[in-house]
């Protein structure tokens, strides 16, 4: 660790250039969580960024080794808390794959609708927070107005607003709230009438554009090499949407586009997420009136035992590819479990895209990576 501000090299070694090390975080207002960046500067130019992680490391992988296959799903809501539904879904899919449980159609439809609502809520929060990082305070309230409707829908059906824990191996914990469809339709109407406000307020804003265009450029080769997924990679022209490549649940039955931009800068990452919200609305519209009747959960044994072997499942969260890798010895608890979190790989690219740029541009590069710290630290 370094002191708060210290000059580590005197100017004589480096000619006219000095080197200044500053600490951003762990309590910086723009890091949205406890991420500590040690930034080496030369004047205003960034020479190197070194992330220091682990302030909220809870050793979730070790914890899961002593939890049963029904219990460990609840811990995963606490990793990427903005995509908790989709994390739960990834784990449930793994158990269903290992035990060959056939999930009822009703559960599949509801899972996809809730996943897409979660994705919109996550992108809304990101939009507000990202605009606030760049000094625009108003978009935060606009984004939270719509997000609030989603959290209300989640509260009715799942009983929680953030860490839902609604998806269980075999289906869902209980059936939908009777008002679910009515409220989702009200949300879609509201969202569609308000989404143009984001365009006026943020997308077409000349200050926002000049702060993000050409900032933090990531090429397609580097995006793949660094393991970037989700909107970060898609803004660089890499096709990586798990919903399209390896469709799960009913994603192969709905029509939607994988949003791909080629510029690779912060503005492209912004555009990808805004367009993705519209695609999520499109998916929900196709499913909301067609939820089949029937059971919402398959009949499973009380104690779940995965056969001996190795299992891997992956889903597309709001941040990218979330993978679960389980090594089973045939018992009721996993022998080893590994979560491939999208935020971890997306963070590792930060030094690459921000080094050489200005310190003022760091916020735009980092904000558009959409880092969620509990997902990185686990």
């Amino acid at each position: 660790m370094y002191n708060q501000t210290e000059i580590i090299k005197d100017t004589s070694e480096l000619g006219a250039d000095g080197e200044l090390v500053i600490n951003m975080g762990p309590q910086h207002p723009a890091t949205h969580g406890v991420l500590h960046l040690v930034v080496t500067l030369n004047g205003e130019t960034i020479k190197k960024i070194e992330p220091h992680l682990g302030f909220i490391h809870r050793s979730i992988e070790k914890m899961c080794e002593s939890l049963t296959y029904r219990q460990f799903i609840y811990v995963t809501s606490r990793m990427d808390y903005l995509s908790s539904h989709i994390n739960n879904l990834g784990c449930a899919l793994l158990v269903e794959k290992g035990m060959q449980i056939e999930v009822p159609d009703r559960a599949k439809y509801i899972r996809v609708i809730l996943s897409e609502l979660t994705r919109i809520a996550s992108h809304e929060l990101w939009l507000g927070a990202m605009a606030m990082d760049l000094g625009a305070f108003t978009p935060f309230f606009y984004a939270f107005r719509e997000r609030e409707m989603i959290t209300d829908i989640m509260e009715d059906t799942c009983g929680a607003r953030l860490t839902m824990n609604y998806i269980v191996p075999g289906g869902l914990m209980y059936d939908l709230h009777p008002d679910f469809q009515k409220k989702v339709k009200a949300f879609i109407t509201q969202f569609k009438s308000k989404v143009t406000e984001y365009e006026d307020l943020v997308t077409n804003n000349i200050i926002f554009q000049s702060r993000t265009k050409g900032v933090g450029i990531l090429s397609a080769e580097d995006a793949i090499s660094y393991g970037c997924t989700g909107p970060v990679a898609r803004a660089s022209g890499v096709s990586c949407d798990i919903r399209k490549i390896y469709p799960y649940e009913v994603y192969d039955k709905v029509e939607f586009e994988e949003v791909i931009e080629t510029a690779g800068d912060s503005f492209a990452r912004y555009i990808v997420r805004v367009k993705e919200m519209n695609q999520s609305i499109r998916i929900i519209e196709q499913l909301i009136d067609n939820i089949p009747e029937g059971d919402f959960v398959a009949k499973t044994k009380n104690v779940l035992k995965l056969p001996k072997g190795e299992f891997y499942s992956r889903v597309e969260t709001a941040r990218g590819e979330f993978g679960v890798y389980v090594v089973s010895e045939g018992g009721t608890t996993p022998h080893r479990i590994k979560f491939r979190s999208p935020g971890f790989s997306n963070l590792s690219v930060l030094n690459h895209i921000a080094a050489g740029g200005m310190i003022g541009d760091l916020m735009a590069s980092m904000g558009t990576l959409d880092l969620v710290i509990p997902d990185i630290d686990r």
Binding site: G54, S59, S66, D222, S225, G227, F311, G323, Y325, S348
Partner: protein, 150 residues
């Protein structure tokens, strides 16, 4: 490519490799010394495995197993490369000059399992504190203060 073709191709690169087809993907077990040349050939050769999406380690109490999940953005076929390393002095060569995502993933494996990656540019603890003793994800790790076992 089918599994048979991949096996044939890999046998030409690493003759001592063992195969396991029971799981979802083809598992290839190689010696730790043969890992680096095989990985380099998989990246640049005809398979073009440009996407390393998961690097981890598993403690089997008698030995540690490094697990690399590889895929390609062109043909989307996934394979798993494994290498058993000695539990008392685990050493393996780094792959972070082939896939840059491996730099952080290997740092995590280093602190959690104690595997030493030779030629790694910056092998330090990433998540744990600098003075942390022990390797928490090994099966014999005991922490009397912060109980994480049930």
């Amino acid at each position: 490519m089918t599994n048979e073709e991949i096996k044939e191709y890999i046998s030409s690169l690493a003759p001592a490799a063992n195969y396991d087809e029971t799981g979802e993907w083809l598992n290839i077990l190689v010696e730790p010394t043969a890992l680096k040349p095989l990985m380099a050939a998989l990246r640049t050769g005809k398979m073009q495995m440009n996407y390393l999406f998961c690097v981890t380690c598993v403690d089997f109490k008698t030995h540690l197993t490094m697990v690399y999940h590889l895929s390609a953005t062109t043909h989307r076929q996934s394979i798993v490369i494994k290498a058993n390393v000695n539990r008392d002095a685990p050493v393996i060569e780094t792959v972070c000059d082939i896939w840059r995502t491996a730099e952080f993933l290997e740092r995590e494996v280093f602190e959690m399992f104690g595997v030493n990656f030779t030629n790694h540019p910056d092998l330090r603890k990433l998540i744990l504190e600098d003075d942390f003793k022990g390797f928490p994800l090994r099966k014999d790790f005991e922490d009397p203060i912060n109980m994480i076992k049930l």
